[in-house]
Structures are given as C-alpha cells and as structure tokens.
C-alpha cells in the first residue's frame, strides 16, 4: 500500500531524481528555463493533463482505465461554455462540473451496474460523448469572452493543479475511501469479503474523475478563452502516460498521486525542454514514448 516506510526507498525516488536531473541540466544549459515566463508557460501546459491525471490515478489504482476522459472534458467545456459566453458565469461553471459528474456517473454505472470491463465501457462512452460534444456544438468553437479568464491568468492554472493534487494526495493517502480504492484494486474479491462494497467505491472514483474533467475543462477554457470539440484529443493518452511514468501499476492496487505528479512534471519538462534545446518537434512524441517504456522497465527492475 501507499504507506511511507522510512527504512525503504520510496518507489518514486528514481523518477524524482530523473526529473531533478533533467531540470538541472536544462537550468544550467538554458538560462531561459528558470525564467518566470517559461515557468508560467510550463504551469499552464501541465494544468489540463495534470488535473485529469489525478482522477486517472485513482481509476487505474482500482484496476480500471478511462479512455473517455478527454471527451468528457470536451463535452463539459462546451455545455458550460455556452452559458459562460452568454455571461451566466456561475451557472456555466456549475453546468460544466455537473456535465463532468454526469459523464463520470455514466461510466461508473456501466462498469458497476452493467458489469462491463472498464476499457470497453469507456471506449464506448468515448465514441458517444465525443460525438455528442461535436454535435452539441455543431463543430463551432465557443468563446468565453474573457468571463473566466481569471482561471487562466499567470500562475493560477498551476495553483489549481497543485490544489487538486493536494486533495487527491490526502484523499488517497489518508482517508478510508483511499484505503478502499487500493483494497479493491489489489484484490476485489477479498475487499468485498472484508465488507467493502466495490460498486460504491468504483462509482465514487469514476464520478470524481468526471468532476475533475469538468475542473480541467474550466481551466482550459480560462487559459484559451475559447474551446472547440476536438481541441484536446491527446489529453487521454497524456494523462495515462503521466500516471504510468509515475509508477502506478496498470494492474491496479499500487501507485500514488505523488508519483503521478512527478510523471506530469516529467512529460511537461520533456515537452518544454525539447522546445528550448531546439529539438525538432517531430521527435517529441518518440521521446515521450521512450520515456514511458524506460519508466516501466525501471519500475520492473526496482521490484526485483
């Protein structure tokens, strides 16, 4: 489990060292790396994927996966964004979050009541939600007219992300709910025999992931002031990649929110560093792919 044992090396140490080394190398070679502008840019870049990665961490720890998360983000942004652009800011934000929760409940319902494997249920809802989002918006971009620009200003996206990570860290590490999430991921049957209701826990996890997709939608709209249904297709894989780089086992039962935070950091710094050193943008995808495999191998070696 996720308990910190002082006499053991924390499993996140290797990737943390990797992140620090990468930052140090960039800070030494590129003076612009530590400039306020660049830090702000990185914080903004990390926000959307970072926020949904927290929900994804909990889902993967239960042994599930959520392929629909980017679609949920898009639908909730468009539903709420329409109200926000008309000046109904409070209602718009509420609608965004509620749409996220609703989509999360749909996923959770299919998985718990429908007893579908998560990868199939969320592949199905990926199709349904993404096309609903595009149909709803008619393929048009919505503009928030600066009504929620506050959410995207300066370091605010980064601060929101850190807050979400803090909440996720506390929930997963220090509450009963978090314990139960690890328990059903480790062995669902024995968790059930121990008196935990896996259906309730999974429902809670998928609904929270939906809520976080709503939060990410608000932040993304705040940053860009506009949103279009197919703006964020790579967020789903980005989030899964961050979780996996962070050492969470795709089999469930093992992993941590702090690991995911480092994972988000690594992929953000990789992207940023590639731009700073003038690496051809076409290479970045290949580099991130390699980073995922290296992280997985390192995790494998550490366990031996």
């Amino acid at each position: 489990m996720n308990k910190i044992c002082t006499n053991k090396i924390p499993k996140e140490l290797p990737i943390l060292l990797f992140l620090v080394a990468m930052c140090a190398a960039l800070a030494v070679t590129k003076s612009t790396f530590l400039s306020a502008d660049n830090l702000r840019a990185m914080g903004t870049d990390a926000a959307g994927i970072g926020i949904i990665a927290v929900g994804m961490t909990a889902i993967i720890i239960t042994g599930g996966i959520d392929l629909s998360v980017a679609a949920v983000l898009a639908l909730s942004a468009l539903v709420g964004g329409r109200l926000i652009s008309d000046g109904m800011v409070i209602q718009g934000c509420a609608a965004t979050l509620l749409t996220g929760i609703g989509c999360g409940a749909l996923n959770g319902g299919l998985i718990t009541i429908g007893r579908m494997p998560p990868i199939i249920a969320t592949l199905g809802t990926l199709y349904i939600i993404q096309s609903t989002a595009t149909l709803y918006s008619g393929g048009q971009a919505i503009y928030t007219n600066g009504h929620i620009a506050l959410l995207g200003r300066g370091f605010i996206p980064l601060m929101i992300t850190v807050l979400v990570f803090g909440a996720g860290y506390v929930l997963m590490g220090f509450t009963k709910l978090g314990r139960y999430v690890y328990a059903i991921g480790g062995n669902e049957e024995s968790a059930r025999l121990a008196g935990i209701n896996p259906a309730h826990i999974k429902m809670a996890v998928y609904v929270s992931a939906g809520l976080l997709a709503g939060v990410a939608a608000l932040v993304t709209m705040g940053i860009n002031n506009t949103f279009q249904a197919n703006d964020v297709p790579d967020y789903m894989l980005g989030a899964i990649a961050a979780v996996v780089i962070g050492g969470t086992s795709i089999m469930g039962g093992e992993g941590s929110v702090r690991g995911t935070m480092i994972g988000v950091g690594i992929s953000t710094v990789l992207r940023n560093g590639a731009i700073l050193v003038g690496l051809d943008a076409r290479w970045t995808q290949a580099v991130i792919g390699a980073a995922i495999v290296i992280a997985a191998i390192a995790d494998r070696l550490r366990r031996r």
């Binding site: 249920a121 809802t125 199709y127 595009t134 089999m251 076409r282 995808q285």
Partner: protein, 321 residues
C-alpha cells in the same frame, strides 16, 4: 434457441442481419448504388488489423499501436517508392518495418514482462513520431510517383485489397482454430500460469502474436497507400480503436481465452454497413453519428454477450439438475 445462444458470434450475426435488413429497406441505393465496391474496399485495412487484434485480445493482451505502425509503414513505403525503389522491395521494407515494431512490442511484453497497454501506448507515440521524422520536416503526404502509382494500381486492382483481406482472415482463422499456436494463444489468454505449467512457452507465443500483428499492420499500411495513391503521415490515426471495437463487437472476450476471427470479420462488416448506410442517408455530421452508433453498438453488444453467457450457465445448470 439454446444452440444459437451457444454460438459466440450470434450477437454480431444478429446485428449484421438487422443492419442489413434495415438499410436494405429504408436506404435506397444501399445494395446497388454506385461506389459500393469502393465503400467496401475502405474496410480491407480494418479487416487486416482486426485479424491480428483478435489473436492479441484472445491472449488477454492489447495492442493500441497498430494504427501508428500502419502509419509508419505507409510512410516508409511512400519514401521508398519516391526514391525510385522497386515495388517489391518497397513492399518488403514496409512489411519488415511493421514486423520489427511488432517484435519490439512482443519483446518488451514477453521478455521484460511489461504490461501490453503500457508498451503499446509508448510504441503508438514512438511509431507515429518516427513516421513524422522519416517523412521529413513539414511533409504530411508523399504522393506515389505516377508510373509507380500505375503499377500499384495494377497490382492492387479493384478487388485485390478485398482478396488480400480475405486471405488474411482465412489465415488468421486457420492459425486460431487449426494450429498449436492458436491453442496456445487461447490457453495463455484464459490462464497464463496454467498455460506455463502445462508446458507452453508463453513468452514465445506472445512474441509470435505481436510480431504477426505488426506484420499485418505493415500490410495494411501498403494497402492504404495503394488505395489512396499517396502515403499520409496521419494514416491509420485512430484505427486501433476501430479495430478493437470490431473485435469486441464480434464476440472476442476482452479478458482473453475466447476469440473468433469470423466474429471479428463480421464486426468489420457491421461497421462498414453502418458507415455506408449512414452515408447514403445523407446525414450532416456523418462522422459524429457514426461514432455515436459505434459507441452504442459496442456497449450493447458487450451487454448482450454477458446476457448470453448468463443464459448459457443457466441452461448448463438446468441440464446438470
């Protein structure tokens, strides 16, 4: 009825027949309209990918890199042709490239025992990235040279993608049903540990199926390039999900141990009928309605499959009593 329930292809068969009847009645030109062959041909590469995916999902694995590997080999094929390589050697290069990606996947999964979704997620990113790299800065499509395109068209005349897909399907069916490898795949899929104890070389089995799937993705890349007369760096984007969808609609179980190539092909047929039918209905936003229907069909066919299994275990119990 009981016998119908026992067939794992029955949900997808019902779906195909239902779609066929609905579209044949309500959509004019569905059966005899222009371009039916072109429409069907579009699905040759999906069918080829779906056959490989059936083997992988049957072994309880998954491969989400096939679309990117298709893209990589398409681009490699295009580059080779553009530099004046012969058709055969360009094909060979594309097939080898696909197989090498598949072998890499298989090596990491079978020998280093990493999770299939993690490995193929990263090769999905890497293969697409490498496709951009070999295509060159800012190049998104490589047209085949005119005389080469003519030769490709001859070789890939009107029916040949379909024939190729059919050959691959029959081959996949034979492998799964008639060869030891097929037995091993299902054994590994239903219980890896038990398979190992009964003397099956699990790592070798996995290495084989991921290599085969990579090879097939390379083949699908050539077919895609040949049909469009050009190699596009974004070719195959999202195909992995469509292939997985077709396989799951077809009745192959995501938890492994149960696989059917016939079902997967029927799944591809269902998806292609859906696309043609919706296309002829003249709907705006075709792509979106298509995705919406795909999602609903995927979820309902899996739910239907679970009902089928429940009914089967009930009738088995009744018989036992």
């Amino acid at each position: 009825m009981r016998r119908l329930i026992a067939i794992k292809e029955s949900p997808v068969l019902v779906l195909c027949v239902g779609l066929f009847i609905c579209f044949a009645i309500y959509v004019p030109n569905f059966l005899d309209g222009p371009g039916i062959l072109d429409d069907v041909k579009q699905y040759a590469s999906y069918a080829i990918l779906a056959v490989g995916m059936t083997l992988i999902i049957g072994s309880a694995g998954i491969d989400i890199s096939v679309g990117s590997v298709l893209g990589f080999s398409t681009v490699l094929f295009g580059c080779a042709m553009a530099r004046g390589m012969g058709l055969m050697s360009a094909c060979l290069a594309a097939l080898i490239a696909g197989s090498v990606w598949g072998m890499l996947n298989g090596f990491f999964i079978a020998r280093l025992k990493l999770q299939p979704i993690v490995v193929t997620l990263s090769s999905m990113a890497a293969a697409r990235g490498m496709a951009y790299v070999i295509a060159g800065q800012g190049v998104s499509s490589i047209p085949l040279p005119a005389e080469a395109a003519g030769r490709v068209n001859l070789t890939y005349g009107s029916y040949s993608p379909l024939i190729l897909a059919l050959v691959v399907a029959v081959g996949g069916w034979l492998v799964l049903v008639k060869t030891p490898l097929g037995r091993y795949i299902l054994a590994v899929g239903s219980n890896e540990e038990a398979a190992r104890f009964s003397g099956i070389d699990v790592a070798k089995t996995k290495l084989w199926i991921y290599s085969i799937t990579g090879f097939l993705a390379g083949l699908a890349g050539i077919v895609t390039a040949g049909m469009m007369n050009t190699s596009i760096t974004d070719a195959g984007l999202g195909y992995e999900f469509e292939a997985i969808t077709a396989v799951l609609i077809g009745g192959t179980s995501i938890s492994g141990g149960e696989a059917t190539v016939v079902g997967s092909i029927l799944g591809v047929v269902a998806v292609s009928m859906l696309n043609r039918g919706l296309g002829l209905m003249g709907i705006n936003d075709l792509e979106l309605w298509r995705m919406l229907c795909l999602g609903v069909i995927l979820i309902s066919s899996v739910l239907l499959d679970q009902l089928r299994k429940r009914a089967m275990s009930k009738s088995a119990k009744a018989q036992a009593v």
